[in-house]
Every structure is written in structure tokens, then in C-alpha cells.
Point group: C2
Chain length 189, copies 2
DNA sequence: ATAGTTTTACTAAACGGTCAGTAAAATTCT
DNA sequence: AGAATTTTACTGACCGTTTAGTAAAACTAT
């Protein structure tokens, strides 16, 4: 901890930007180094491999997203408002932190690959976030806010996928409204 | 040893499988060659570059999808049923042709990249399909089947994104139902 | 001095792509 | 018809470049 306190963070930030733009396989370690304004070998001083660097970037991003989503939600006491706020927060995060958005969109597809278990950890971290969302939906179902026929995991997927498609907040607001109308109970139930 | 007949198609099929599994940058031409059981140089006999090969694969896949979607739809005369059938067909295609599904999911993210115009053609081909879907929604709006507040482009995006998230037909059915409830007009409007 | 950083210099393997050449099939010439 | 020529389908060896990763020297702060 002599000279630089934030070198490691600087590398993570640069890596995230690069991975978000071109995807894991589209970026070389030299590119990341250039973006971070350090020499490539220095990255290997802090991270043992490209794969490990990516995992750290992913984990860091998911922490950020999860914090952003649930900190605001927990201030709410009504489940209807909790869920409503979650959707708003999600849109807010996705339109502002577009790097995180893209890195999720890009690498989520690899979860279904069976030949490489290097993605297992990455998948697990994502799934733990999805579970928190589906739990919230499940609780809302019990309190008769959300239609009981709805599978909470599928609903969480729809939120996660539907609300990351665009960078335009207005489009995402429109999409959110459609999803919301599909989720909440009909008045004449 | 002249084989000739379907070599080109065999390469496209192998390329699609490989691209779907690992993404454009995750696959080498040698891998594709191995998958197609031909020599790498032969790929360059039929296709001038990796990029061009990918575009052909993409175009071929989009043609397949579009044909599958709209052939069935056009037999229907009511717009409500047309749209309903389109969603069904889309799920059907995505759960059976998982290679196409993954290749779309993987490479769609590149559409927002501004630094490379090599993706322009790829994007254009995808957008023409999206337009056909949003046109169908727009017409359904005029006939007061679909809520008039809904933006047809955003609705098309929601369908395209929400209904490609999984390979499990049951999950996709659930998601379709949520989307559908969000789209159609309320009885007590 | 010494422990923590950063850089220089390097490697082996893999990459996209090229090229000269070849055997067989199709076409043209006589 | 059959010989001569051209075109098609395909191969292996190879090119320059880039890749992830390493060893060790050099610098920096205490």
C-alpha cells in the first residue's frame, strides 16, 4: 500500500468498461491495460488471470446493482410499493450504469453452457440476485397484491430481461407499465 | 473426391452451432472447420472472411425465424388471434431452435456499439423483423384490441426480449401470459 | 534494507487469412 | 467420340500478428 491505493480499482473499472463494450472474448488484456493506463503485467500482479479479473468485475457490478435495488426498497413498508420501487430503481440503474447493463446482457448467455464450469460462479452470483427479486414477488403474492397464478421466478426473469433491453428511460417506462399491468391483480378478481 | 453438394450449407450450420455456443469472438475458424469436418481453407473458399460468414449465418437464421413467425400468422384473419399466434410461434421457435435463440441473444448487444459499422447490416436485418412485429401490434391497436397507450415498438421489444430468456416452454408460457395481460385492453375501459 | 509496486522484455500458442498446388468434373475443340 | 482445356472443390504448409501469461529487473516508499 505504498504508492497507489486505487490502482486495483482503476483496473477493475477499466476492465468493466472494456468488457461491457466488446464482451469477454472481444477484449484483450493489453486493451484493458491501455484503458487503465497501466502496463499489462501489472494487471497480473493484482489478478491471477483474465478469467479471475472478469469474475471480480462481475461480482463488483452485481454488488452495486443489488445494493442500489434493495437499499431503496427496504425503506418502503407496503409490498405493492416495494415492488413498484424495485422496478423504478432497476430502470434507473440500467439507464445510468449502462456498463453494468451491457456486461450482464453480454455474459448472461453463457450461463447455459455446460462445457465450461468457469461460468458457474458467475451464474451463481446472478442467481442470488434473481432469488431476492422472486422472493419479493412471492411475498407480494401471499399478500394478494400480485396474481397468485404467476410464477415468481418467471416474473423475476421477465423483469430482469424486459427492463434491460434499452437505454432509453422512456421506452423502459413503457415496458415497465406493460409488465406491471400483467402482474397486479385485476380489480374484478 | 468430389462432394460438392451441400458443403456450403454444412459450413453455415457448423458456424451457427459454434457461434451460438461461444459467440462470435469466442470461436475460431479452425473450430468451425473442425465442427463442419472440412479444412479451414475451404471455409475461405466459400466465404471471404469470418465477418462475412457470420453475417450469412445471421441472415439465414433471421430468415428462418421470420418465415416461421409470419407464415402461420397470415392464415389468421382476426388481429387478436394473429398476435396471439405470433407469440405462440415465437415461443415454439425459441424452444426448438435454441441455436438461433442464443445467437440472437449473444450478438444483439453489439447493436449499440458505435465504433464498428460492421454490425450495421446485422442490426438492420434484425430491425426489419422487429418492424414487422411492431406493425402487427400497431394494427391491432387501431382495431382497439390492444391498449392505445402502448408504444408498439416497445411492446415488440418486450416480446422479443422477454420471450427469449429461457429454453423452458413452461416458463415462456407463463411469461407470455403476463405480457399478454399487460397488452390487451381492459374490459372496463 | 526491504517489502510493495510497476515496468521491460519476452514466450509459446493461437489467431485470421493467404497461397501454390491438385484431382476431378465440366466444357470446348477437333 | 475423344483429346485438350478450363473450372470447381479442396488441401497443407505457411504468413504476420495477436493472444494470455511470465520472469526478472527497476523503481518507490518506509
Amino acid at each position: 500500500m505504498r504508492k497507489k491505493i486505487n490502482t486495483k480499482q482503476k483496473i477493475i473499472e477499466a476492465a468493466r468498461k472494456s468488457f461491457a463494450e466488446k464482451g469477454y472474448n472481444g477484449v484483450s488484456m493489453s486493451e484493458i491495460a491501455k484503458e487503465a493506463k497501466v502496463k499489462k503485467a501489472l494487471i497480473y500482479y493484482y489478478f491471477p488471470s483474465k478469467e479471475e479479473l472478469f469474475y471480480k468485475v462481475w461480482h463488483y457490478s452485481m454488488d452495486e446493482l443489488e445494493t442500489h435495488l434493495f437499499n431503496e426498497v427496504e425503506n418502503e413498508n407496503m409490498y405493492l410499493k416495494k415492488l413498484k420501487k424495485l422496478l423504478k430503481s432497476y430502470i434507473n440503474f440500467m439507464t445510468n450504469k449502462t456498463e453494468v447493463q451491457r456486461i450482464i446482457l453480454r455474459e448472461r448467455v453463457n450461463f447455459s453452457r455446460t462445457d465450461q464450469d468457469s461460468w458457474e460462479r458467475v451464474k451463481d452470483r446472478y442467481m442470488s440476485l434473481r432469488k431476492r427479486i422472486s422472493n419479493l414477488i412471492e411475498e407480494s403474492k401471499n399478500l394478494e397484491v400480485i396474481d397468485s397464478n404467476i410464477d415468481s421466478n418467471d416474473a423475476a426473469d421477465l423483469i430482469l430481461n424486459g427492463l434491460s433491453s434499452s437505454n432509453d428511460p422512456r421506452s423502459l417506462e413503457n415496458i415497465r407499465e406493460i409488465i406491471w399491468r400483467g402482474l397486479v391483480k385485476n380489480e374484478e378478481n
